[in-house]
């Protein structure tokens, strides 16, 4: 994965990546002693990656450089401090940084986009990456990072590293795009990716995903299911903390039956129901669960294919709707 930021490579990043963290810190320490202005120029450089700023925190403190840092760097260090603070017993040391701020949003994006490639640097760094993603997704509703978060989940999984928090954060976006991104990994040549994708999409254990044609087949099936159901999906909030088989989302059958978008937060409609829709749902809720699924599926298909005929079908009593859904009816075909 690239850093997400094109452009020239910063010397600090180059040394850190080729010769390691210690070499980078030593070089910066030497610069701080001998050529303070160059040290400041390098660390404030636009192309710097977040990981380099992160590892140089002790040197920044020792050489009292904070006041000379760019706004981006100062905010990033404040965010790190805020994250570290809440982990301490008793909590808050008075860091008043507002995470809702738009400048903070931009800095969080820089931290995540340029930091994700260095995942695994240290536990503390990885935790900051997770929480950065969490703030971006939960506070700023930033869906532009979902693809990078998915990539991070699967890279960690290949290494056998901890993924439960980042998976939970990913699905907090409550966005069907998340499911599409995960589905892409059903076609991965790496079997560990495929198995994780199966788990995250809650696909049945007996579905065979052994070769590329089986993988492609189930990918196509899933995408087709997703296209049909995405307006009616809601996200359950289930996580690996709760269960060994979390189901990230479910279909709101009532919404599907009414042809009305579901709220992604729960099994309720996105917009208020009309009087007529309330009446329809009262009848709908009188039938058995499997019959509800059948009615909802038929309704959604008819709604897509022929709206006037769907409107006519919706006027029938629910028993008749069910008969038509089961056996068809000439005047509706």
């Amino acid at each position: 994965m690239n850093s997400g930021y094109a452009g020239s490579v910063n010397n600090l990043d180059c040394i850190r990546r080729t010769r390691g963290m210690s070499a980078c810190r030593n070089m910066f320490r030497k610069l701080g002693q001998e050529n303070r202005q160059t040290a400041i120029r390098l660390i404030n450089d636009n192309s710097l990656l977040f990981a380099s700023l992160f590892i140089l925190q002790p040197e920044i403190k020792d050489f009292n450089l904070y006041g000379e840092l760019s706004e981006r760097n100062r905010i990033a260090l404040n965010i790190c401090e805020k994250i570290a603070d809440v982990k301490k017993p008793g909590g808050n040391s008075g860091n008043s940084l507002s995470l809702n701020d738009e400048t903070v949003h931009m800095v969080l994006l820089w931290m995540f986009h340029t930091g994700a490639a260095d995942d695994g640097l240290s536990n503390e760094f990885d935790q900051i990456l997770d929480i950065t993603a969490s703030i971006l997704i939960k506070t700023h509703h930033e869906n532009a990072i979902l693809s990078s978060v998915a990539d991070l989940i699967f890279r960690r999984n290949r290494k056998g590293a901890y993924i439960h928090d980042i998976v939970w954060i990913f699905f907090q976006a409550r966005n069907a795009q998340s499911l599409q991104l995960i589905a892409g990994y059903l076609r991965s040549p790496v079997q560990k990716d495929v198995e994780l994708a199966r788990t995250l999409l809650n696909l049945r254990e007996d579905i065979k995903l052994r070769n590329s044609s089986e993988k492609q087949k189930w990918y196509n099936e899933y995408i087709s299911w997703l296209n049909e159901n995405s307006p009616y999906l809601y996200f359950t909030g289930e996580s690996f903390q709760l269960t060994n088989s979390p189901s990230a989302c479910d279909v709101n059958l009532e919404a599907k039956y009414l042809g009305k978008n579901s709220s992604p937060r729960g099994p309720k409609p996105l917009t208020p129901l009309t009087e007529e829709e309330h009446i329809c749902l009262n009848h709908f809720n009188e039938v058995q669960e499997e019959e509800k699924a059948r009615l909802a599926e038929y309704s959604s298909k008819l709604h897509r294919e022929n709206q006037p005929v769907w409107s006519q079908w919706m006027q029938y009593p629910v028993e008749e709707q069910l008969q038509i859904a089961k056996y068809g009816r000439r005047e509706l075909i």
């Binding site: 703030i135 506070t139 060994n244």
Partner: protein
């Protein structure tokens, strides 16, 4: 309704064997009063479930009184004499160590351990079983233990990981308080795994023993600034396969 060997049983027929107001009596009365049919092959099978539920509660209280700390998975710790910490933050039983000794060590040297609420639940189940199974049987039944959450879980305990809606909720059930609007800075407060101790109390590692109102209050104290949804107890529970565990136990003791 309780059915044993195909016959409906009155609660009084069974509950007399237990102390007045005991957990077992509470469970028997709740099962008997329910519309759900709770079927058992034998009275011993029911008695095993009652005993195990009681031991789950006892193990929860014992773990609560221990000095095991709360740590997020990235920072978990364990006694390296018995356990190997995995890259995910779980504890894997070391080669050559007796599973029963390793479980007991968590209670004996509890200050050397720190983990999340889900791992604590797994520790509770193993300790409850260790209080019932003879040590040799426990070691033979669970030769490879990995403690984390509902992953890498022993097949015999897999059912506690499947949390689902129940007609009745009983002391000894695993429940979950969800906190959908958790503060993004503290994802560890996204929810709390708990054991229902009966009498309206729950044990959650890191929180302690409280009623649902207090647990919800604690979780709500860790929500985001723009939160509009309260933490709540999910209408679902996880339970071990008591009947399967009983069949292993009864085979060894017969």
């Amino acid at each position: 309704m309780i059915i044993i060997s195909g016959n409906t049983v009155q609660p009084g027929d069974i509950s007399a064997a237990y102390a007045q107001g005991s957990v077992e009596q509470v469970i028997i009365n709740r099962l008997a009063a329910s519309d759900e049919r709770y079927s058992y092959d034998s009275l011993d099978q029911l008695k095993f479930e009652l005993r195990m539920r009681n031991e789950i509660i006892a193990a929860s209280r014992e773990l609560y009184q221990s000095r095991m700390g709360f740590e997020v998975f990235r920072e978990t710790r364990c006694n390296p004499m018995y356990w190997k910490r995995t890259s995910e933050g779980g504890f894997l039983l070391k080669d050559g160590v007796k599973p029963s000794d390793a479980i007991l060590d968590i209670f004996k040297n509890s200050s050397q351990y720190g983990t999340e609420c889900a791992t604590a639940m797994m520790i509770v189940y193993y300790k409850a079983l260790l209080n019932i199974f003879p040590k040799d049987l426990f070691d033979k039944t669970f030769p490879r233990i990995e403690l984390m959450n509902w992953h890498h879980i022993d097949r015999l305990l897999q059912d506690v990981g499947f949390i689902k809606r129940r007609k009745d909720y009983l002391p000894g059930d695993r429940r979950y308080f969800a906190n959908p609007d958790v503060d993004p800075l503290t994802p560890e407060w996204q929810g709390e795994n708990v054991i229902d101790l009966g009498g309206g109390l729950y044990y959650g590692h890191g929180l302690g023993i409280y009623d649902s109102e207090s647990i919800i209050k604690a979780l709500n104290g860790n929500r985001s600034e723009d939160a509009d949804e309260s933490a709540h107890l999910l209408d679902s529970a996880g339970r071990p396969d008591f009947k399967r565990l009983f069949s292993i136990y009864s085979r060894s003791t017969s």
